[in-house]
Amino acid sequence: MIPLTWYLVLAAALFCIGLYGVLARRNAIGLLMGIELMLNAANINLLAFERYVAPNSLVGQAFVVFNITVAAAEAAVGLALIIAIYRSRDTVAVEDIDLLRG
């Protein structure tokens, strides 16, 4: 059986890729995709811990279902925001969106 550590390493790798995407991509849509990756890394963690630490509890699965729902909602809102920004500023490059600059 695959040890728990492998799953955790996979999740950590996925999370780092997502974080890199969020920090480095210029395109706002890429940024959103990075966030999705990070959320899914968390999901893998939740499922792995459920399976190895507290089997038969279903708590982890329930959390994951919630996470997926929230992620979907977040993606919908995020995309809507990006479209709105594109309409008003003609760009989705995140470094150009700096209205809050001090």
């Binding site: 974080l19 969020v22 920090l23 940024l31 470094e95 969106i97 809050l100 600059r101 001090g102």
Partner: protein, 698 residues
């Protein structure tokens, strides 16, 4: 099923909510306002019907009425409570009031059409209906008094509804002030009652033990000596009735109240508000009769009988269609009051209910005539409306016959019960007065019918009259139905055939505790004879040879008597002379005193003060006080120079330093705010890493 009684408190709430909604939100949309008002009263009607039928089907409701209270407020050691009570009397009032109100509301849609203050009118009548319904379901005298005053307010607002007319404005004021005289007595009665018993709830106040105590407690009244407390309280409360139900000598406001819109006349001055006064006496009936052979019932009987005859004589000589009905209302209310004074509890309550139906019908019929005849109110200018306004005519006939007491319509049974009770109790005088009033009632109603509907039109307006819209006519039909048939619920049990068949349900329900009335053939025969005689006399004078335009009233042949009646026994003029003139005279005298006497005093005081001031200035101010003031001024100057240096150098320096430091920090930190999401995220991530590292190391 008992649980349905718990809906009772909702009955006054619906119109109240409608009132608030109309006033606050939907005032601008006229149709919505009127539909809301009608919807609210219809809901009240439905709930009232549920409660009424529940009450009918509950055995022995009179001994154990439904009663529910909530705590209201703690005042010192006593707890005031609010609550609703349903006993048979409340139940029959709940049958009558919302039904009549609903009809009047529907009628008002047609009557008030096109009025600039349409929404406001519906808001007011909603508030009014709420007051009346609250009064009926109230379980204590304090709540009753509050709703009573709500109605007083609404009556003022509605009578003066067309306040552009000075006469309407004055009529509203007159109604308000006149009823206020009665209400002051009522309030005194409540205070005295509360002082004696410590409670105002009906079940406590009207319990046999309390009544016994009240009857045995003697109070010293100026000019009268020792009088039982029950009598004093009953008569003070009766003062409220005299005002509200327009009994002599406070009857003068009701005829003037006809300045209001006709639905208001029907609602307030026929069906509901004026009957609230009678309802109060019915409700407090045991208190009035607490003292055996006491003087309270005597006074009540006297006032009622006198008013019944007095008002019906005035009604004979009036020409305004609504004024005739107004005096007729006063007279009929006198009938009820007389009945209650005689101890005829059931008869009084019965007449209260039937009268509400046929008088509302007559008022709304007269409103229909007024609208149909282009706002003509003078009966001398009408005539021949029979063929022009068919439905109005037939419903009006039903109302007239009911009021005149022609069998088998409602008014016959209730009026006859009163007369039979009066005769049976040996009050021959009351019976004679009542019969005379019944004759006059039939006569002036016959006069009205023949003047308005028969003969030839006597004016341009009457000639072009046409039937009014459906919303005005249908309520007439509904009310005519009740005016015709409602009497059958109170047929005496020993009346041949009908009595056995129907079994007098009204008496069985409302008057369990009281002996049933009996048929008195002499009284009944005589009253039928008088009623048809009155109508017949009306026909002889006005019907056989109809009046033509410009012809004087045949009654004018009576000379000075006619003049006296036409001027309402000069009541208004006498009151003006006795009450208003002296008050204004006193005011004038006071003004003269003010101008000459008081002004002199004020001037003298002013002048001597000025002289004293000058002396003070010359001898005290200049030499002594000025020196002291100058010394203080100079030392102040020196001190303030020192203080100024300290202020500039030290305090300002500190403030400036704080300001400069803040703006430097702001400049430095500003570069952190790039406005880019990724920068913030980077900072957050780096910090997380730093925190994790710290956690691992420590």
């Amino acid at each position: 099923m008992e649980g349905l009684f718990n809906l009772t408190w909702l009955i006054p709430v619906f119109p109240l909510v409608a009132f608030a909604t109309i006033v606050l939100y939907v005032r601008r949309w006229k149709n919505i306002s009127s539909y809301l008002a009608v919807g609210a009263i219809a809901l009240s009607f439905v709930v009232s019907q549920i409660v009424f039928w529940m009450a009918i089907s509950t055995p022995h409701l009179a001994e154990a009425p439904f009663h529910s209270v909530i705590r209201w407020m703690n005042t010192g050691q006593t707890l005031l409570q609010m609550g609703v009570m349903v006993d048979p009397l409340t139940a029959v009032m709940l049958f009558m009031v919302p039904l009549v109100c609903t009809m009047i509301f529907v009628y008002a849609i047609g009557y008030m059409h096109g009025d600039p203050r349409y929404s406001r009118f519906f808001a007011y009548i909603c508030l009014f209906a709420s007051g009346m319904l609250g009064l009926v379901v109230a379980d204590n005298l304090l709540m009753l008094f509050m709703f009573w005053e709500v109605m007083g307010l609404c009556s003022y607002l509605l009578i003066g509804f067309w306040f552009e007319k000075p006469s309407a404005m004055k009529a509203g004021l007159k109604a308000f002030l006149t009823t206020r005289v009665g209400d002051a007595f009522f309030l005194m009665g409540l205070v005295l009652l509360y002082g004696q018993t410590g409670s105002l709830a009906f079940d406590k106040v009207l319990s046999p033990a309390t009544l016994q105590t009240l009857a045995n407690t003697m109070l010293t009244v100026p000019f009268f000596g020792a009088v039982p407390a029950a009598t004093v309280i009953a008569l003070l409360i009766f003062g409220g009735t005299v005002g509200k139900s327009a009994q002599f000598p406070l009857h003068i406001w009701l005829p003037d109240a006809m300045e209001g819109p006709t639905p208001v006349s029907a609602l307030i001055h026929a069906a509901t508000m004026v009957s609230a006064g009678v309802y109060l006496v019915v409700r407090m009936f045991p208190l009035f009769h607490a003292v055996p052979h006491g003087s309270a019932p005597e006074v009540v009987t006297f006032i009622g009988a006198f008013t019944a005859l007095f008002a019906s004589t005035i009604a004979v000589a009036q020409n305004d269609i609504k004024k005739v009905l107004a005096y007729s209302t006063i007279s009929q209310l006198g009938y009820m009051v007389m009945a209650l004074g005689l101890g005829a509890y059931v008869a009084g309550a019965f007449h209260l209910i039937t009268h509400a139906f046929f008088k509302a019908l007559l008022f709304m019929g007269s409103g229909s005539v007024i609208v149909g005849a282009h706002h003509e109110q003078d009966m001398m200018e009408m005539g021949g409306l029979r063929s022009r306004m068919k439905i109005t005519f037939w419903t009006y006939i039903v109302g007239t016959l009911a009021l005149a007491g022609i069998p088998p319509l409602a008014g016959f049974w209730s009026k006859d019960e009163i007369l039979a009770d009066a005769f049976g109790h040996g009050h021959i005088l009351a019976w004679a007065v009542g019969s005379a009033a019944a004759f006059l009632t039939a006569f002036y109603m016959g006069r009205q019918i023949f003047l308005v509907f028969f003969g030839k039109p006597r004016s341009h307006h009457a000639e072009h009259a046409k039937e009014t819209p459906k919303t005005m006519v249908y309520p007439l039909i509904v009310l005519a139905f009740f005016a015709a048939l409602l009497g059958f619920v109170g047929v005496p049990e020993d009346f041949p055939v009908l009595g056995h068949l129907l079994g007098n349900p009204f008496h069985a329900f409302v008057g369990e505790a009281y002996a049933p009335g009996h048929v008195n053939w002499l009284v009944m025969g005589l009253s039928i004879l008088l009623a048809s005689g009155g109508l017949g006399l009306g026909y002889l004078l006005y019907g056989r040879t109809p009046l033509v335009a410009g012809q004087p009233d045949p009654l004018a042949r009576l000379g000075p008597v006619y003049k006296l009646l036409k001027n309402k026994y000069y009541c208004d003029e006498i009151y003006h002379l006795i009450f208003i003139r002296p008050v204004t005279w006193l005011g004038d005298v006071m003004a003269v005193v003010d101008k000459n006497g008081l002004d002199w005093v004020v001037n003298t005081v002013g002048r001597s003060t000025a002289a004293f001031g000058t002396a003070l200035w010359r001898f005290v101010d200049v030499p002594i006080i000025d020196g002291a003031v100058n010394l203080v001024g100079r030392s102040g100057d020196v001190f303030s120079r020192l203080w100024g240096w300290f202020d500039n150098a030290i305090i300002d320096g500190a403030v400036n330093a704080v300001g400069a430091a803040t703006s430097w920090l702001g400049r430095e930190l500003r570069s952190m705010q790039t406005g880019r999401v990724q920068n913030y995220l980077l900072i957050a991530s780096v910090n997380v890493v730093v925190l994790v590292l710290l956690y691992m190391l420590l």
